[in-house]
């Protein structure tokens, strides 16, 4: 009797599930729309974006300034090692105390082979492992995409990302210059700023997130190599 009752319930639930497939088109469209609306709403607020852009600009200036002074010191062959080291210390300090992945990606604004694409242009099923990111000052639908060319890229990336265990300090949450995702080419999308869990895997789209971890140094090196090759 219990079994019969259970089968009847399952059969009724299946009927209900089928009927849900026939609900009003407006309800379906509304639920689809709420997805994109919320994504837009969750974009970084204007003032925060402005502050983050300034930080990015400052980083670039410091790098350019650092390289210029380093070159000048070489040309003049003067005894300016202390100054040069001071600048290197500054950059090093950013690398240690700031977000290193931000640093790597910020320094690649001009020189990387990354292609600029819109969300619609990204093929999440291209079978390739890619890093996708957007700078805080980028347009709403502007992303950079770079494919990891290394052999066994997926296992390398996953291995590096599994080392991202450090918790993000509360005060630095959402202060990242870049929003970063990794596409595995099979529809799966993750972010190096999120812990590894089933709930943190997106499907064939880029999603907004609040950072949970700091990407590991090995992941930053992997990205740096991909940008420089």
């Amino acid at each position: 009797m219990r079994k019969a009752d259970r089968e009847r319930k399952i059969s009724s639930a299946e009927r209900l599930f089928d009927a849900i497939g026939m609900i009003d088109d407006r309800l379906i469209a509304e639920a689809a729309e709420c997805h994109s609306q919320n994504l837009t709403q969750k974009k970084i607020p204007f003032m925060r974006r402005y502050a983050v852009s300034l930080t990015a600009l400052l980083l670039v200036f410091m790098m350019v300034g650092g390289f210029a002074i380093a070159n000048l010191s070489t040309v003049l062959d003067s005894d300016s090692n202390s100054l040069d080291e001071g600048i290197r210390d500054d950059i090093g300090e950013i690398g240690q105390n700031g977000n290193t992945l931000d640093f790597v990606l910020s320094s690649a604004v001009q020189k990387s082979d990354a292609t600029t694409v819109s969300l619609e242009e990204i093929d999440f099923f291209d079978g390739e492992v890619s890093i996708i990111w957007s700078y805080a000052g980028d347009g709403e639908n502007e992303y950079r995409k770079l494919t990891f060319e290394a052999q066994n890229a997926e296992s390398k990336v996953k291995n590096c990302m599994s080392k991202s265990v450090e918790q993000i300090p509360a005060e630095s949450e959402d202060s990242n210059i870049c929003r970063v995702w990794v596409s595995y080419g099979n529809g799966e999308v993750v972010s190096p700023y999120l812990k590894e869990s089933a709930g943190n895997i997106g499907y064939a789209t880029l999603f907004e997130y609040s950072p949970e971890v700091v990407p590991s140094d090995s992941f930053c090196d992997l990205v740096s190599n991909a940008l420089n090759n």
């Binding site: 609900i23 088109d25 709930g199 997106g202 907004e208």
Partner: protein
């Protein structure tokens, strides 16, 4: 491209209709199918069948919400595919019952379709009575087959809240169907 322009392409019998549909809705439709069939190759097959069904249904139909129209098609195709695959896998009684469904007169399908339409109308009334957030959570879960975590991310709310909303909405739906005298 706007929905009405894509629909025009279908009505003009232009093959570009399919590529434009794929560009705009391909990923979303694959996501719906994959949520049901769980196998990428099957989802791709369902996507192709959906485009064919859309091609065959226009002209005649002129959907206002093309995304919703296509979502309904791929959902139905994916559910059928899932049931067929699982019925084959289970074998025994289920496989035999599946074979025997071919003997059931089509009038039963018509009756079933009619009953489902009445049920869908009741669901519409129920869903429109909910506030927008609850309604969207319910539709994302049971129409789009979204995971609870994904809904929480999408709606910018906690997983616990999504679970609570779904639990209460299911209970409210049960009461509503009882009040409406809907038999399942």
């Amino acid at each position: 491209m706007e929905d009405y322009q894509i629909v025009d392409l279908y009505w003009d019998r232009s093959e570009r209709a399919i590529s434009e549909t794929d560009t705009k809705y391909g990923r979303m439709l694959t996501g719906i199918s994959l949520g049901l069939v769980k196998i990428k190759e099957d989802a791709e097959e369902c996507l192709s069948d959906t485009y064919l069904a859309a091609w065959n249904s226009m002209p005649d139909e002129r959907p206002i919400y093309l995304g919703a129209f296509l979502s309904k098609i791929i959902r139905r195709i994916s559910i059928d595919k899932y049931r067929a695959a699982h019925s084959e896998k289970r074998g025994g009684k289920d496989a035999l019952v599946a074979e025997l469904t071919e003997c059931i007169p089509s009038a039963t399908d018509v009756q079933k379709e009619y009953d489902n339409k009445l049920l869908a109308e009741a669901l519409n009334r129920f869903l429109y009575s909910l506030d927008e957030e609850k309604r969207n959570i319910f539709v994302r879960r049971y129409f789009y087959s979204d995971a609870i975590d994904d809904i929480a991310n999408r709606m910018n709310v906690s997983v616990g809240k999504v679970k609570t909303v779904l639990f209460r909405t299911r209970n409210a739906l049960r009461e509503f169907l009882l009040e409406e005298g809907v038999e399942l």
